[in-house]
Amino acid sequence: MNEKTPMIEFQDVHKYYGDYHALRGISATIRAGEFFSLLGPSGCGKTTLLRTIAGFEDISSGAVLLDGKNMAGVPANVRPTNMVFQSYAIFPHLTVAENVGFGLRRDPRSSAEKGRAVEEALEMVGLKGYGARAAHALSGGQRQRVALARALILKPKVLLLDEPLSALDKKMREQMQVELIRLQRQVGITFVLVTHDQEEALVMSDRIAVMFEGEIAQLADPETLYRRPASRKVADFIGTMNFIPCTIISEAGDRVEIDAKGLGPVVLDIAQAPPTRGDAPVVGLRPETLTLLYDGQSASERETAGVVDEVIYFGDMTYYDVYLADTEVEVRLSMRNVPGRPVLDVDDKVRVAWSPSALVLFR
């Protein structure tokens, strides 16, 4: 299957619950074989959108196409999708093997063949030999694996994951993120993940749709989303970003000249200025694109003086809040704590190096 083949197409999908407009004209394409994430705060419609793929949610208008076929009127139990639920929905009265093999009940194969399929599925998720255990006695991480095996055994065209890691503790979550990526590469099935955790989405996804209030605010690969957020809202939701007030001096061709408070006049490429939104103009800067200069160092591009306002020590990193050039504009920047680089104190005078190409203009 070609990497660029569309697997799921949303065509102007609207969903109303009574008067509430939950999905407001979603149009997007999810490609075959990709790890796709729907990311957004709670109530943004991401789970609703996922459930329209599974067939648990009807749409009010528009169309959902799965592998080229319109899914209108196709019930959930015959769609070529399977889902991993937020609560895992492991059947508590069945064994692990009965849970995993549940979807094979209508499969015409012999029970010996089905048994082998269950064993393979369990092995794939690292639960070999767990088949005879009672499902209600498993730990959270094990339930998650059973839910995965149960969904993947049917070899669906699309695997839907509804906040699958939210119930796990941090260590377990990070481990499962890596395992999910590995599993997705191994089986080659299209994965659609719903999450409110931007870090999780960045780590796992090939592409991410950021949703706010029933609309897709931006659909891009993780790096684009992080480096070139399309709006201030997206920038604010993904990672940390400093916003510095600025005025637009001139705009000509593919160049925009601005005057950012504390940074001074800067010339930006038009690619750094996503389409107009009508807000008061600000420039965004990620903390790691700012660097403190120590004695004897000089900036390769631009340099601004500042005063340290706050020091937040994280062990491997230190975060500094710095006032820029005698203004009340404060930026947060992060420095790795490598040997020979002392941690600074509050009120220390510093020089901050930055690069115009790291700026994003929101206006």
Binding site: N77, N82, A89, G103, L154
Partner: protein
């Protein structure tokens, strides 16, 4: 213990509650017609006398038919109501559920009187059937309560998961929902059964000439010579009630532990 008064109060309370029931077997085995201390000696003849009374067997047969039918109907109705109230939203939901639960607090004598007026007016003869009608009315709220809690602890996504894995709505109900609420169904059945079995007012008002266990016992109490045999019967009924209720409670707890306790996974 900090407050000896409270302890005495608790002991007195429990004595008041259970001592009379404990007296039941004591006098059932006492070799005297008069119910009084001192005890006269051990005998099992009251049990024999009770056993050989054909009226008792007639009443018992009626009671068992009534209780079984009542428990089945009430549990089935409770199943529908509990499913509807936990799974769907519909207009006037709370009012409708409130009305279903109302017989729980309505004086039984009022229910009995109004039913008898209506039944006589329609011209339905009083019989076992009319007792069943009355008992279904008063036991359904119990069934609804027990089954609602069984359905509430059922994770909605279990159903969706079965459906997602290719099952139909009917097979999902059979394979997933029914086994998981089965303890609730059993517990509801047993409790409705017991309530119907020892109910007196409705049975006496709507029973016509048909005796049931409770009206039979009340009738026997008028004859002092029959009292010890009734106590023997009472002893057996207490035993059966305790066993059934304990089993019902065991099933209910097992149901909650299995269906609700830990389906959501994660940090436990």
């Amino acid at each position: 213990m900090k407050a000896p008064g409270l302890r005495a109060y608790a002991i007195f309370y429990l004595l008041f509650l259970y001592a009379p029931i404990l007296l039941l077997p004591i006098f059932a085995f006492n070799d005297a017609v008069v119910i009084a201390f001192p005890l006269e000696g051990f005998t099992t003849r009251w049990f024999v006398e009770m056993w050989e009374d054909p009226q008792l067997w007639n009443a018992l047969q009626n009671s068992l038919i009534i209780s079984t039918v009542v428990a089945s109907i009430a549990t089935l109705l409770g199943l529908f109501a509990a499913r509807a109230s936990t799974r769907y939203r519909f207009p006037a939901q709370t009012s409708i559920l409130g009305l279903i639960m109302l017989p729980l607090v309505l004086p039984e004598i009022v229910v009995a009187m109004s039913l008898i007026v209506v039944l006589v007016a329609i011209g339905i003869p009083l019989s076992i059937f009319t007792i069943i009608l009355g008992h279904v009315l008063i036991t359904t709220p119990f069934a609804v309560t027990i089954l609602s809690s069984a359905f509430q602890t059922l994770d909605r996504s279990l159903e969706e998961a079965a459906y997602d894995l290719g099952e139909s709505a009917a097979s999902t109900f059979r394979l997933i929902i029914l086994p998981l609420v089965m303890p609730g169904i059993i517990s509801s059945f047993l409790i409705c059964f017991i309530i119907s079995l020892d109910e007196y007012i409705i049975a006496s008002f709507l029973g016509g000439t048909q005796p049931v266990l409770s009206t039979y016992i009340f009738g026997q109490f008028r004859f002092p010579a029959k009292v010890p045999a009734v106590l023997a019967l009472g002893t057996i009924l207490v035993l059966i009630s305790i066993i059934l209720l304990a089993f019902a409670e065991y099933m209910r707890r097992r149901g909650i532990a299995k269906a609700g306790g830990n389906t959501s996974g994660g940090a436990r």
